[in-house]
Amino acid sequence: MIKRLFDWLKQPLGLIAVGIVFLAVFSVAAYGLYTTQQSPAQPIQFPHKTHVAFGIQCLYCHPGAAKGPSAGIPSQAKCWACHQQIAKTQTSVLLAPLKEHVESGTPIEWVPVAQVPDFVQFNHRAHVAAGQNCENCHGDMTTQTIAENPQVFNMGFCLDCHIKSAGEDQAKLNKLADCGTCHY
């Protein structure tokens, strides 16, 4: 039985079949990897670039970045504060979900884009205080609609910058490159 199968696989058609299976598995794996690098689907196609173009500062909607560990996602009350005064809100199809959520009083379920694993203790405030701009990590929001992740937030990304910014200052390097700075 098995022998017959092998025999069949050895002939050209069989080889093609093997090739197809291999390609399929490979493509699925590649696609899986690819999807992890894509922006997830969001409930609202939030156009960051439009908002940035209006001159709205990052910290207006994500004030936590300057205050503490998490930048935060704005409450829909904050969205609504402006949007209820914008006529387009009432008509736009894209904005319908916002209207819906506000009226039904249910939270909008955003999917986080920029994440670090649980065992990394990240603090926005320290980075903002050190003079890092948002786009250094999160990319240029003037070109993005829903947030994309331009960086893989792995340890290399963090550490490269930490070591670069420490420069020759040994004390600063001790602090910035210490395992205990992020992992505890």
């Binding site: 065992f119 203790q121 603090n123 210490d178 205990g180 700075t181 505890y184």
Partner: protein, 246 residues
Amino acid sequence: MATVTDLKITELKLSEAEGGKWGMVIDQDICTGCQACVAACAMENNVSFVGDVDSGYGRSMHWIRIERFWEGEYPEVKMTPNQPMMCQQCGSATCEPVCPAFATVHSQAEQLNLQVYNRCVGTRYCANNCPYQVRSFNWRDYERPEPLPNQLNPDVTVRTRGVMEKCTFCIQRIHKAQDNAKAEGREVVDGEFTTACAQACPASAITFGRVDDSESLVSQLIKHGHGVKHLEELGTLPNVTYFKGG
């Protein structure tokens, strides 16, 4: 009854604290053994409870435990002063070099023994090599039924099975205090924050602070008291000082 009176630690005159940045002073005379520190530590650091079977088998995860022995025979029987044991944050830690994965390393910035949970592969060599036996290992994924996980402290990583853990001197509080101080453009002030155990201790038997700052409360206590460091003869340069008192 065979008491273990001969197991008292050798009293050694304390020389100048060698190195070290953060230190702790524990006054055993006023420690009442009430376990508030243990509970506070568990709540602050997301320490798992292990249940009756495992805790009876030496697998409890306490990062701090209170040791006590009995001296003498009835009716002259006495309890030795309660001795809270936690990671001594040795200056020359025996646990560090033996980890093949660099999961427990010395922090240059804070002079603490770090346990990097995500790097730990669970050889448990560090725990064997710890003379104080203060490391606890996640033998299982200890269950926290819903909604108990709501209580977890987001500043501290939740550990999974197969990972070693130990007292960190509440490094998350150290970082938070440093972050706050930096944001306000100042240095961290002595007593501004403390570890969870010291904060809870009803007898204030635990004092925590900078040992490299001669003005801090811990430094003052070390200077003026007759403290001992546990198993100091091993050259581990522990950073916890015990006052036996009495």
